[in-house]
């Protein structure tokens, strides 16, 4: 009996001990303090093209705010490197579209703010100037430059925000040929990117058997009168006029073409914003071709956006800035996510070479809420996988006629 009581006592003691042990309040987990990292943006924020530079800055602010709230992949607030959580703070510099100021901006953000990543500058002259010093400063550069020259610099800390336009010359020439166009007149901006694209297009189109009956290169930032160019083009009676410029100068050139009596079709290598569409009137552009990203379509037809990422951005942008984002915003938004995720994968926020090396994986995993849809980052800094569409305007609407303007990877590498 005594033996049995002892047994019960021991068992009770053990159970009590277990219960006591289990009921012990947990030691407070030592939560890592949230640190802040600074994220640089150098872009034009004043002058005639300020709206494009501000598009980059605002996109980065929006993307970093989203990351601070929900993380890069939506798995909790902040940027996570190991156990450490970081909040991103954006610091910016207005370079006024001046390469010398871009360089000054890079130096200031690195030396005074200690940034390891700078998005921008915008424009090839500024980008090329910044790329002369970014490696020396030990900072990743993510400029927005539509020329292919940046990839030839051998910069190990370079990532391009968007694939340069001139690579689309080949599929565009093919698409124009396939649509039955045999004679084309081209007016192009003098910028390296656009003039490179128009020359490449001419070469490809002529290889296919087509004829470029006129090629005019102008400075779109200074040209205010396209009447005589369009009169000359009209006299050559082309199947189509290719206007190789940005959004708003396109509107000016097209309206002057109408004024001299041209009633034919156009081809544009750039999305048209709401103001351009209003100025020209889409109903007057029946049969014209527009190279565009899905962004253009979803902006007009949100019901087409099955993934919803672009519609969300447009909504968030409207709520935050009360306007529609310019085309520069979309690639800047994606690049910000890619670089933040690359920091998480690389396990560092301070080693730019490790962060750059992790960029391809950040895109390949497919976890980021990207808008452009790039799937890889090439060694030379070009993004890959986010191809653009070719739309035809009919009845005042955009209709996709080439789903993806495919650019062979071998050309990019």
């Amino acid at each position: 009996m005594v033996k049995k009581n002892i047994y019960i006592l021991v068992l009770t003691t053990i159970i009590l001990a277990i219960l006591v042990a289990c009921s012990q309040p947990a030691q407070p987990e030592k939560k890592a303090e949230i640190k802040t990292i600074k994220w640089g943006v150098v872009c034009v924020q004043s002058g005639p093209i300020a709206f494009m530079g501000l598009g980059i800055l605002r996109a980065v602010r929006l993307a970093t705010s989203n990351i601070n709230k929900a993380g890069t992949t939506g798995e909790g607030a902040g940027l996570k490197v190991g156990d450490q959580v970081y909040e991103i703070e954006v610091v910016s510099y207005d370079d006024g579209f001046d390469p010398a100021k871009s360089v000054a901006g890079y130096r200031q953000l690195v030396e005074m703010n200690g940034v390891k990543v700078i998005q921008g500058p915008m424009g090839c002259p500024c980008a090329l100037a910044a790329m002369k010093i970014n490696q020396e400063l030990g900072v990743i550069t993510a400029p927005l430059c539509a020329s292919s020259n940046t990839r030839k610099m051998g910069d190990k800390l370079y990532v391009q925000e968007r694939m340069p336009v001139q690579y689309y010359a080949l599929p565009l020439a093919q698409a124009a040929w396939d649509r039955g166009y045999r004679t084309i007149c081209i007016v192009s901006d003098i910028a390296d990117s656009w003039s490179g694209m128009s020359k490449e297009f001419k070469s490809q189109f002529e290889k296919l058997g087509g004829q470029v009956t006129a090629l005019e290169i102008v400075d779109m930032s200074k040209t205010t009168d396209y009447h005589s160019i369009m009169t000359n083009f009209k006299s050559k009676n082309p199947d189509i006029i290719f206007i190789v410029m940005y959004d708003e100068p396109i509107a000016l050139a097209v309206s002057h073409a109408f004024e001299v009596g041209y009633t034919g079709k156009f081809m544009f290598p750039s999305e048209m914003g709401p103001k351009t569409e209003q100025k020209i009137g889409l109903d007057k552009l029946a049969g014209s071709l527009v190279q565009s990203h899905e962004w253009t379509l979803y902006r007009k037809y949100p019901e087409m956006d099955k993934k919803g990422a672009i519609t969300n951005l447009l909504k968030q942008w409207k709520e935050t800035y009360n306007e529609t984002p310019p085309q520069t915003a979309v690639p800047a938004f994606d690049t910000c996510y890619m670089l933040a995720r690359a920091m998480e994968i690389a396990g560092t926020v301070t080693d730019p070479y490790a962060i750059r090396a992790a960029c391809p994986q950040a895109l390949q995993e497919g976890k980021l809420p990207l808008l452009m849809g790039s799937t890889d980052m090439l060694d030379n800094g070009l993004p890959y996988g986010a191809f653009e569409n070719l739309c035809e305007i009919q009845d005042g609407k955009y209709n996709i006629i080439v789903d993806k303007l495919t650019v062979p990877r071998s050309i990019l590498e």
């Binding site: 004043s46 300020a50 005019e216 930032s221 005589s228 006299s235 009596g261």
Partner: protein
């Protein structure tokens, strides 16, 4: 389109120069129309410039920015206040006329007896101040003034003219006719022209040069404002839009002879036609080169300009 169909669609040919190079009357006519409509703008700018140049003796570098302000006034009057475009011409002329008076009284009048270099520097400073102020007030974004007839085109004999371009031509004709009548038929106008052509001579004749100079400034800036309103529906409205037209207008003043309104008008049309024809027949890339080459050529032949006094 088959090539024979293309050939049928081509405008009628006048002379076959070579197999590749053909001369089309319609094409040439279109270049003339383009040149005349552009020349009207240069004419309004150059007339104002020549008045100021004759009186001050220094070019008003800010003249292009006054033209830019005219375009912004048209934009805000029509797009923001929903007022008539025609009314914006009057409003811009009044606002810029008053602004011209203020600029003259505050900047150029106090410096009138100082070294010429001061006036040059003041004019350049004014150019920068006005452009920066426009950036601050209106922002860097492009603005479009879209009117109901913005894209309407009149076609005649195979040629075309945008309705806004026609308005520019007619309005310029009216303004220049009014200016001509004012100068030729009124005593004040005659005093204005006399002062513009020879300041010292005018003073000797008892003309109150200070008052006349202020009036010249007001008229000159008002003309720039009217030009800005007229071009506003046909271009991108930007703080930097005045520089290009200003350069050609300056050249027109030099070609026409400094201080001569008639010379400025003729010079404006000559250079606009050179620009239009060379853009079409040679290359738009180099059209301004031909414009300035024409100016230099003219100066070599006639150093004082077409209507200037012989040196």
């Amino acid at each position: 389109m088959a090539s024979n169909e293309q050939d049928l669609a081509r405008p009628p040919l006048f002379i076959n120069k070579t197999v590749d190079t053909v001369f089309s009357v319609i094409e040439f006519g279109q270049y003339l129309i383009n040149g005349i409509s552009q020349g009207c703008l240069y004419c309004l700018l150059a007339s104002g410039l020549t008045l100021m140049l004759g009186i001050l003796g220094v070019p008003n570098f800010a003249h292009g920015n006054l033209y830019m302000l005219g375009a912004y006034i048209a934009f805000y009057v029509v797009a923001f206040f929903n007022m008539s475009y025609w009314l914006s011409i009057v409003i811009a002329a009044i606002i810029l006329g008053v602004l011209g008076l203020i600029i003259y009284r505050l900047i150029f009048y106090p410096m009138r007896n100082g070294p010429h270099a001061n006036l040059f520097v003041a004019a350049i400073a004014l150019l920068m101040i006005l452009e920066s102020a426009a950036l601050l007030w209106f922002g860097g974004e492009t603005k479009w003034l879209i009117l109901p007839y913005s894209n309407d085109v009149i076609r005649f004999g195979g040629m075309s003219l945008g309705v806004q371009r026609l308005i520019i031509i007619l309005a310029t004709l009216m303004v220049m006719l009014g200016l001509e009548l004012f100068i030729k038929k009124t005593t004040v106008g005659a005093a204005l022209e006399a002062t513009a052509q020879n300041r010292e001579g005018a003073m000797l004749c008892g003309i109150k040069v200070t008052q006349i100079a202020a009036m010249a400034f007001a008229i000159g800036t008002a003309l720039a404002g009217v030009a800005g309103v007229l071009i506003a529906p046909a271009v991108m409205i930007l703080p930097s839009m005045g520089l290009g037209p200003l350069l050609v207008a300056f050249s027109a003043v030099i070609v026409g002879g400094m201080g001569s309104i008639r010379g400025a008008v003729v010079g404006a049309f000559i250079l606009a036609l050179v620009e239009s024809l060379t853009s079409g027949y040679i290359s738009a890339t180099y059209s301004l080169v031909f414009v300035f080459a024409a100016m230099i050529l003219m100066l070599l032949i006639r150093p004082s300009g077409l209507f200037g006094k012989e040196l």
